[in-house]
Subunit: 409 residues, 2 copies
Amino acid sequence: MAGIGIVGAGIAGLHLGLQLRQHDVPVTIYSDRTAEQLAGGRLPNSVAHHHTTVARERLLGIDHWDAEEYFYFGHHHYIGLPDPLSFPGFFTAPSRALDYRIYLPRILGDFTDRGGDFQVRPVDPADVAELSDRHDLVVVASGRGSLSAMFPRRADKSPYDSPQRKLCVGLYEGIAHSEPRGVTMSISPGNGELLEIPIFSFAGHVTALLFENIPGGDTEVLAEARYDDDPAAFEKLVLEKTRQHHPRTFERIDPAKFRLTGPQDLLQGGVLPSVREDYTRLPNGKYVVALGDAHTVVDPVVGQGANCASYSAWELGRTILEDQTFDERFCRKVALRRENVVHATADWTNLMVRVPPAPHLLQLLGAMSANQAVADTFTDNFSHPDRQWDILASPERVRKFLAGHGMAD
Amino acid sequence: MAGIGIVGAGIAGLHLGLQLRQHDVPVTIYSDRTAEQLAGGRLPNSVAHHHTTVARERLLGIDHWDAEEYFYFGHHHYIGLPDPLSFPGFFTAPSRALDYRIYLPRILGDFTDRGGDFQVRPVDPADVAELSDRHDLVVVASGRGSLSAMFPRRADKSPYDSPQRKLCVGLYEGIAHSEPRGVTMSISPGNGELLEIPIFSFAGHVTALLFENIPGGDTEVLAEARYDDDPAAFEKLVLEKTRQHHPRTFERIDPAKFRLTGPQDLLQGGVLPSVREDYTRLPNGKYVVALGDAHTVVDPVVGQGANCASYSAWELGRTILEDQTFDERFCRKVALRRENVVHATADWTNLMVRVPPAPHLLQLLGAMSANQAVADTFTDNFSHPDRQWDILASPERVRKFLAGHGMAD
């Protein structure tokens, strides 16, 4: 076969390419950045891979970070109510967070070592038609605007018309990790969330602070303050907002050592949550499949985007290995296979950023604080967003789930 | 839980009920016929269970017909072209055909022995609303017109507006079975198909002759001739049409012994192929799931209806066992799980009855006559309609499949 062309060298494109190379399928990945550029530049995100993703990495033979030091074991929750709630939840198998400037170049090396073709060139929608003549199938796995726009946004699955959080994520030194090592998910009602994530970066084991700021809330300033204008003032502002809103993290900070690990290790902005159509038909009659951010973009508040992209890549890869006729039947099979997990990921994440929070979400969080099994199920379901949505899709579902844990209304 | 209510005691309702009883889910099956009525009356069909269905029967603990005598091992094809084609195809595991007047009462007995509740009462759409208040979920697994009509017919998946074959199926003595024992699929171009099926009925191991008659063709008369007016004349007509069109079957008939096994062992009519919506929402807000003939009706030409109903029941049962909140999310999960197999069953069957036949179908049949592996794959795919449709959905797919067997255009 003339093989598969993949536009985008993020986790979606690379996991798909690596899976196909295991079965000797010819694959070309197109990227607008070189491996060196992927390794440099600004912090792209603060992604954790949950255990279902880690399991796929093992199957792909790219589990290079399997030592205990890279993993964390659960979530420490803090909800800043007048009477604060503070409780942990544990995974059935650990997660890990790696700086994608380390991760992506390493697995891109695996891809090329294994016979994958990597081509650096910009690709816009007009180029996709040309690539479709050259390959049996083209997969668009890049969230860049003009490429995403090839796949219509689904209004029924995209409830917001603007980003719901203003984001500020940076890598910091001077924060002792929680015990047992975990992500701290801290909620400041009306202001937003802080995700404190143990992450491996160029400076070693450091801490990502991902502030998810509600527009108009007290921490919104973090998304707009300019580090480069006055690094010390910026770090002082982060420290102060952490002290005011997120005491479980603040109590582990040594202010004397607290600093951003580098001027590039900061990302500010926001994402518009979108679910798009699974595929499109080009004027030449060929079909193009959307993957990763080209298909679904979620707010990072529950760390699902990369995991969902990896899952979706895996299901697409399985379908390619079973069926090499890339017509609408093929595309429909891909859509059927991934819909439950991908849409559940979007629906759950969209619920988590709703302002004000849904009463049934608050009910579940309250129950988690009182029942370890409930907290652990919610926590482990970061690996199973479809099961999470089975619990959270409606007030009735939360009631039934809690009743199953002996917690009647 | 208040349990599951199932309307209909055919294979769909009973397989679902038996699966749920294995997990102690309360189940009530509603039928307009008693067990005795199911065991009597007119021949309802001439169904074969293919090996994926037999495997489910094993899992359900209802594999009461596991002796070699009940099974058959493949298909004997005959295509009455000027230069006739005649060739076999073999399964990877055998199929079996049982008279449903034996099969359904026996597994209904299993259902009630295992704590299932069986209630004899007519149910119309107005009653479904009442039943929905009594049960956690109501499943409609009956193809009776007013019940099916609760689920809109999908025009995109229902290409015909009338039955494509006029059917005449009866049970006969006086036909030696083929060697190795199999179904003979005989095609008389322009007139239709004969399916000759070894089947176990009240008279023991007999033969079903299912004539699939194209309207206007030479055998159409079989669907209209009245056995009761003159049994000998009817049998003589069947014999004569078999002699004229289906020599592979005729050569094994002993005319002196050839007879219908009983006046009730004959069914004439036709079916309108229909794919319907997966579920509907009642005015009280509860959802009702369509199963079996209420969801999808296919012409019997490739023996898929009952197998598809059993498959669909199994997927619905799995979903019920995983998730007991019967809202739209639940229904959507069921729809996603079964769509590929159920729609492939309908699409494949609709292709098989198209007049004139599609060139790519003829191309595949020709290739089967020349290549045993191609014939065996097509034959075994009676257990895998989704894989069959992967081969047959388009001319391009047939070409690719044949190229994979070294048969270029």
